[in-house]
Symmetry: C2
Subunit: 202 residues, 2 copies
DNA sequence: CACATTCTTTAGTGATCGCTGTAAAATCAA
DNA sequence: TTGATTTTACAGCGATCACTAAAGAATGTG
């Protein structure tokens, strides 16, 4: 496998095209974005798109993977970088409030909103995103169990319920952002949501 | 305007057909449900559907209106029937947990999930449901302002933030239900969510 | 019965969907 | 230059989309 390039070089930048595709899928969802929409935004023809990315489904998967390592990366990093679990969840919610209303890109979270309505032939796409969301809930729960083991949560804390709760709050914030909620409103929501955190004191 | 019926009688029950359409739209969303899907489930042909309901958009509007006065009615009634505002919101969240996971119909809330991905030509449908969700937030806020006026909430309570918070929790619970959360998990989420309610005591 | 009215079925409309066959254009290796 | 390789633009594939024209079938009215 050599790194030499032969043949006619690609006339467009693959990364730039991927960003355009991300914005479209983010805004309109998987089914709401057509190949025609994509090629128009990318400035390329259908055969070029298929040669560079495979098919629509493969392009979407690549978009979601890239999204997870860029726009969506704040979640894992907030939980991982804060030594105090409570501070980690608080930071995650606050950063979600800011990111979901960032005017530089579509509102909300792509993983949450890009495939909620699925026709039978796109059920696999819906299942893909659903699996990612479920993995997120499990990630929350693992962090909470770790916190409980390290005495940052009371012995009897229901980590499963807390994980589902935080996941629901994040998803609700995404939906609210798409419905027009402001950054300030969502930051207040994030602040309120943290009040359920069980305190050993009091 | 007479009530006499002339001409060939309709061969299907309109209400039954409307219920079938509701289940399809609830499960697969507006764009994910085709006329072909609808006619197959209703057991009628396209011209019969168009004669009875207008077009796809009109049928969907009728479905959503009917949904609001049946499956979705628990929200308004919970807030209206409980004299204590806190009890009203608690009951609303708990009933949402039960309703959103009721195996007798699709999971979650139709108004929340039936049109989140919109292509340009169906933006009006998205805007319709969005308006209903915004009206819901305003309804929450009005109830909270009423509660504050009646000293059931502290003077300085941020009713706007609380309204957006409760709306986000409800929407998150709907999404979690569609992702497979159980009734018990969501009831625990509802219970946790009520812990943000500001108490004049303590 | 005949007639008007309403719903039915059959078959199809143009438009758009995701996707691709074909051949010219643009590069590198020899 | 010659040939191999890869991408390009053009055009169109079959399938499905929401929707409907046309004519037959089933009712009430006269």
């Amino acid at each position: 496998m050599t790194t030499t390039k032969r043949g006619r070089p690609r006339s467009f930048d693959r990364e730039t095209a991927l960003v355009q595709a991300t914005l479209l899928f983010w805004q309109h969802g998987y089914e709401g974005t057509s190949i025609s929409d994509l090629t128009a935004a990318m400035g390329i023809s259908p055969p070029s798109l298929y040669a560079a990315f495979g098919d629509k489904r493969a392009l979407f998967t690549e978009v979601v993977d890239r999204y997870g390592s860029t726009f969506g990366a704040f979640m894992d990093s907030a939980l991982a970088q804060e030594s105090d679990p409570r501070a980690g969840f608080a930071r995650m919610l606050d950063e979600a409030a800011v990111s979901y209303t960032d005017p530089r890109h579509p509102a909300g979270c792509l993983v949450i909103s890009a495939a909620t309505n699925y026709s039978p032939q796109t059920a696999d796409v819906e299942q893909d995103l659903r699996a990612r969301r479920r993995a997120n809930v499990r990630s929350f729960e693992a962090r909470l169990q770790d916190a409980r083991a390290r005495r940052a949560l009371p012995e009897g804390a229901d980590t499963r319920a807390l994980a589902v709760y935080f996941a629901a709050v994040v998803q609700g914030m995404s939906q609210q952002a798409r419905d027009g909620a402001t950054t300030q409103e969502l930051r207040r929501v994030a602040e309120l949501a943290m009040m359920v955190w069980p305190e050993p004191s009091c």
